[in-house]
């Protein structure tokens, strides 16, 4: 793309000044529309060193109220960030609805640097591109406007600018070792950038190459693109987006009605014996996971009062508290609701070597959010694939993903609800909402069946825990966790 790119023609000086004034005014006016329409805008500035990414951001934000934007400077990833999936630190930065985030730079720079250092080649590169494409598509599908600018200057211009920066003590530090290396290997870099731009140029988040030689002209290009893209996005907000076909290998799941619950019991003595044995085994595995730095994600979904809490406790009882975290998921807080629905899960991912246990999960999207109308039909229908993609990302990162559905029948739930209601010590566990949800049992069952069918992938299959006898379910969960961890440790 870079090589075939034809720079536009800059208007005359006066004309340019006038157009720039207009664009600035438009952007200023648009910020309130963005807020009203709850449009989140993510702007990436990529490009050559010394092409003026930083100062461009400085000019753009002059037209926006500080309440409505954030600038994030992404330097080399920290230790902590390196222990999480590649996209983690970018996902953490996405804006709330009605606001801008400007990234200097986005995920291109880190990726192309890894390519130039020969750390990312062949199939790994393909995988990375695939995951970036999915990431960008998920953002735009979920209503984000994603704008990608590549600031272009040629080799001579770059040399001229770097020499100038290096000539003063106050600015010398701005030229990094990599910048110098890039200047020396301009052609090589150009090839890598060109390929990346081509590989990630999507119609919903296209690249805009900016002729950055003249600063005012560059500003006009950026401002015009910003303004027109925002206008388009505001018009399209109510549009639905295609529901993609599943491309991930699925594992066949039974319907809930066909899950045999009778006879799934264990006697107390056997339970105590097994529990002790399995917990000690799990404890040992936890040590080994930590040393091998394998991340583990265990998720629980299930009927109210199915026994999720007690089940989780038997897992954590075997774990070193320094190496795991339980995330109880309630309804989202305002700052969470204002972002991509997976944001609050991305930001809770464990470090490698650690275990994260989610008590309720992202699958709320296709259960409660679907049934209560908290998202549109297009939203939840799209979510199956989005969650498969999310888990694929985690799986490719090296994570073990274990998903539990804790199953009971309607009568068992009623008995437990009544028990909670009548027992002062347990009353806090039961709310009106639980009773309301119970009335929608059949609708939930249908939604769960669809979820199990569409999201039980080979890399992140669902496991059903028959929990009329809670002890049976606990032992079964421990056995599954142990089996999956042993597989990963091989």
């Amino acid at each position: 793309m870079l090589k075939t790119w034809i720079p536009g023609e800059a208007p005359e000086k006066e004309e340019l000044k006038q157009q720039l004034d207009e664009a600035r005014k438009k952007l200023y006016d648009l910020q309130m529309k963005i807020k009203e329409h709850k449009l989140p805008v993510l702007v990436l500035f990529e490009g050559w060193s010394a092409a003026g990414k930083g100062s461009m951001i400085g000019k753009v934000i002059k037209n926006i109220d500080p309440r409505f934007f954030k600038v994030a400077t992404m330097s080399a990833p920290s230790e902590e960030e390196l222990r999480r999936p590649f996209l983690y630190r970018y996902m953490c930065q996405i804006p709330e609805q009605g606001k801008f985030t400007f990234l200097d730079s986005g995920w291109m720079e880190q990726t192309t640097q890894e390519v130039l250092r020969k750390e990312l080649t062949g199939e790994d590169y393909e995988k990375r591109i695939e995951s970036i494409r999915r990431f960008e598509r998920q953002l735009t599908d979920n209503g984000y406007l994603v704008l990608k600018f590549f600031m272009q200057i040629d080799k001579e211009e770059q040399k001229f600018r770097m020499d100038k920066l290096c000539s003063s003590q106050d600015t010398r530090w701005r030229v990094s070792e990599f910048d110098k290396w890039q200047q020396e290997h301009y052609r090589k870099c150009e090839k890598v950038y060109d390929r990346y731009l081509k590989d990630t140029n999507a119609s919903t988040s296209p690249w805009y190459i900016i002729d950055a030689r003249d600063k005012k002209w560059a500003e006009l290009q950026v401002m015009d693109t910003l303004v027109s893209s925002i206008e388009v996005a505001l018009q399209n907000q109510s549009h639905s987006v295609p529901i993609l076909q599943n491309i991930f290998p699925l594992v066949k799941m039974p319907k809930l009605a066909d899950v045999e619950l009778a006879g799934k019991t264990i006697d107390d003595e056997e339970y105590e014996k097994e529990l002790k044995k399995l917990q000690s085994k799990l404890s040992e595995l936890h040590n080994r996971l930590y040393r091998k730095r394998i991340p583990v994600i265990i998720t629980y979904e299930g009927w109210d009062a199915a026994g999720k809490g007690g089940n989780i406790k038997r897992i954590t009882g075997a774990l070193d508290p320094r190496g795991y975290e339980v995330h109880p998921i309630a309804s989202p807080e305002p700052h969470e609701k204002a972002r991509h629905y997976l944001w609050r899960f991305w930001t809770r991912l464990p470090k490698d070597g650690h275990i994260a246990i989610f008590d309720r999960t992202w699958y709320g999207r296709v259960m409660v959010e679907r049934l209560e109308g908290f998202c549109s039909e297009n939203d939840w229908k799209r979510a199956y694939n989005e969650m498969n993609e999310f888990e694929k990302e985690l799986s490719d990162w090296g994570a073990v993903i274990i998903k539990f559905w804790v199953q009971i029948d309607k009568d068992t739930q009623l008995a437990r609800f009544n028990d909670r209601q009548n027992n002062p010590e347990k009353q806090w566990k039961i709310t009106d909402e639980d009773w309301r949800n119970r009335e929608k049992w059949d609708q939930y069952e249908e939604a769960v069946n669809e979820m199990l069918k569409k999201t039980s992938t080979a890399y992140a299959p669902w496991h059903i825990l028959e929990s009329v006898d809670k002890k049976y379910a606990r032992i079964k969960a421990l056995k599954i966790v142990i089996k999956e961890l042993e597989k990963a440790l091989k």
Copy 2:
């Protein structure tokens, strides 16, 4: 303290088991009371390597629902954390109301390690102790229960445990280089720990030394202390705490009524000239600050429609967007409200070398929160000192703190309100709340006068910006910022 400490006597085995069962049940029952009474509980586990901090936390949390606690493992501070004040990463971890945070370990370990490495001596050590004391007192004053455990084992027991850990490949990694060093220098460490314990033993957050040789006995000591401390804290929740006397050097401030507004104007031509000159100067200073890694905190308070936003814009217009962030402060979100009121400011502190600009600040505590009754009288009366302490902490860290009060008179406000109301493009800037606040002008004025008087410290004085002519105020702000930065760069 360690040397004079006399271990209690453990009960007989059967008795111990029974007491432990009781304590566990009590803790289980207390968790709901904690939630009901919105008590936040911060539990620190410090002590010797191999004394069993981690496994103790593991045992304690077995009695608590995962929704109500978090465990934070504080290893050596990361690069990012080292670029912030010492207490930053601990403040980030404090629990919400109604929840526990368990720290393994707290701020003792980092401090004593620095002492042992001879990085923290003499006056710096004294300063550190002072800031830790303040930190703990601020937490308890604001309703936190802070529990500090020191897990004690003697030299022989430690050797025995470490040898055992080292004998197996699966556990060898748990013994760090520092652990080995500590075993070799047990007496030296003991002296340092002893001094620290003495220096930070306050009646509101006392130390509990736990005899950790026998695990069950250690658990009982911890559980009993937890239970009884929680019970006391629940009884004391509505207690007020003493308002401390000011110990910081204050700068005399005029009353708002005595601030001369007339004649504080600038003509347009002069303004444009000055603005350009000052912004270019500031831009240059920003570079130097970055290189010298000096953190800068600029705060804005002032009447509604006083011109804070436009003033901030003239500062940021001169700055590289990669090196600053503007934090517009609105009313707190639920997760912010549930914590110490300074938490949301601590977590927004800049890295060293960066500038953070706060559009409204922690001083909301003594203005809107005071006048609207969002906190108790004891709370806001205590806050003057708490904010002086907070800013002292920042100043000791090396931060430049510049606090602006943007001043206009009541008529000017009315004119600007009307202008906003009548101008469709500006209507979003005015809300019913603004009109309501205006009605309380006199009460606000009194509160502001008290605030200026009590919180204008030598290290973080207030500056008044006369803003009937906004341009005058902008030039004045730029000049003050430049002057303060130049002072810091000397």
